[in-house]
Symmetry: C2
Subunit: 196 residues, 2 copies
Amino acid sequence: MTGQRGRPRSFDRDAALDAAMRLFWERGYEATSIADLTRELGIGAPSLYAAFGDKRTLFDEVVAAYGARYADFAAVALTEEPSAGAAVRRILREAAAIYTDPAHPKGCMVLSAAVNTASDEVAEALRQRREAGLALFESRIRADVAAGALPAGTDACGLARYVAAVLQGMSQQSRDGAGRKEMEALAEAAMAAWPR
Amino acid sequence: MTGQRGRPRSFDRDAALDAAMRLFWERGYEATSIADLTRELGIGAPSLYAAFGDKRTLFDEVVAAYGARYADFAAVALTEEPSAGAAVRRILREAAAIYTDPAHPKGCMVLSAAVNTASDEVAEALRQRREAGLALFESRIRADVAAGALPAGTDACGLARYVAAVLQGMSQQSRDGAGRKEMEALAEAAMAAWPR
DNA sequence: CGTAATCAATAGTGGTCGCTACAGAATGAA
DNA sequence: TTCATTCTGTAGCGACCACTATTGATTACG
């Protein structure tokens, strides 16, 4: 034992996960059917279920992979940059590029894929991811306030929600067809609100 | 002739339209089924189809009624206020109240009801409404720049997109459960970006 | 080889979708 | 009344949904 007994899988599981990610990213969770997935992945439904479990389990795995590859840029900037202001500036600029990148679907999957879902479980999972991001912004801002890098009276919660709102708006406008230049101009306008 | 021949309608058409609006507003276009509507309205499917046409036609009528009752506040402020800045300040404050009003579903229906729809027609209709709102912001800002009420170098398009993004973010966060106070703090932070 | 194990393809399952044919009930007009 | 008109309720249309039972193909182990 034990060198993989039985008939080997006839498709690349990682590539299939990537294709599923693109579909969910583009159309959202419920608007992407199993038939869409099997057609795009070029496999039969039983193969998909054997490899990934049911639709919701597949989506959970897609979200995890998406987060690691496309959504961590914000958390990275928040830890790498010397100040919350520098981090937010970098995040908004990177978002303008990522949300409009023609190499993949527009906008942020965490923000758009579970809007108007009938079953609450998937919507709740992404909502918690959004709240986690919000908390990340808020704690970094609080740290800067405590360190004196931001004015003492700064409303950390309001400012964090503000940054999150700008990102949400950028995601939706990117999905509505806005280009990178427009999003960079939006980000530029948004940065003017940062406390000085 | 001609005083309404035939059996009279057994329900209030306006009340039914209101109930349909609440469902579409809460769950979105596709997640609201005909069965949901007939159950909530207390009528049979044929009655609904006779009174409103098919689902898409009903939704169009709902969107028109929604726009007149809940979305015109922005256009009103843009014409009533003496400056674009005053209008945007008022719009953000009113949005904080309207988007979180417990008397009706949260957020803005135009921004949320057609996200992730399989059929593009409905999504495109709401997208055009969003772009019309964007154009309204931009033209008001351009007028202020021309009148000298805003700095000559102001990026009207970027600033308009910025305001729209903040509203979109406020709508989504309201739907995610944020309250009026949080949204007012967000709006306050956002106003700091206005050119001075 | 024979056998156990794993995957693939066909062909469905029951359920819900938007929508409607049909027959009966309720009205005004003649 | 008798008739045309308009609405209501039942019952069901074909299409699609997520999902799976079954059968056969393909591998490793002994």
